[in-house]
Symmetry: C2
Subunit: 139 residues, 2 copies
């Protein structure tokens, strides 16, 4: 992977993998259930097949997606998120929660059990609770 | 704001605002406490002053940052996140948590109270609890 940003730090490093145009939207389509190239391509209005192919290859090289063949004659592959890739879903979730609040308020992310809006927050497993940003430290 | 992606949906719309190169890193620097142009510029190795200026202007136009003058002779401004901008912090947080786990494992986000790693999750205020991705629906 080429270095897009000269600094270190986990945000800059992650953006090198997923910060390029279309990448997070491709991940989102796979998360939503599109696995075949043609389906992903069809869901993303405006992306060229060449660019989609480049992005998928890069995601595969970085261990975010895996390619699996579901037919050998002719060879046909589908794209599955690795567990590492699945865990990126919360990035798309955080973008979606913010966007649904401030930009596209006709769409909400709801908790299927109670019907209320879902939020994306810092959380501590050990304390089983919400963590304020002021209580998050980098170490 | 120009339309970067032809589709709607809150993720694509949010990426139009924050998906451009450097933008999330600029937000992160302001969140971390850099407010003056020279300080932000100094923290972001490799960004040109012109590009930083363009990005800050776009963030200001979109209500993510506010410019406040702290000196009038000579005019000197600092950049403050609006509440809308503050709420974008969790996007940087989600990128940081993932990056610290998979790419830069020398850095962690820790809960200052207990010292354990912090996670970023879906959460329901009404149910006061963690929400699985399978329980999040778009509506």
């Amino acid at each position: 992977m080429s270095r897009t940003y000269p600094m270190n730090g986990p945000v800059a490093r992650t953006l090198e993998l997923v910060g390029e145009r279309w990448t997070l939207l491709i991940l989102l389509e796979i998360l939503k259930g599109s696995h075949r190239f043609a389906d992903i391509n069809g869901s993303l209005v405006g992306i060229s097949p060449n660019l989609l192919s480049t992005r998928l290859k890069s995601l595969e090289e970085n261990g975010v997606v895996e390619r699996r063949f579901y037919s050998s004659h002719p060879p046909r592959a589908e794209y599955i998120l690795t567990s590492k890739g699945h865990e990126l879903g919360i990035v798309a979730g955080a973008l979606a929660v913010w966007g649904s609040k401030y930009l596209a308020d006709d769409i909400s992310l709801l908790h299927s059990r109670c019907g209320e809006r879902v939020d994306v927050i810092y959380y501590c497993d050990k304390c089983s609770g919400r963590v304020k940003r002021s209580q998050v430290k980098l170490s």
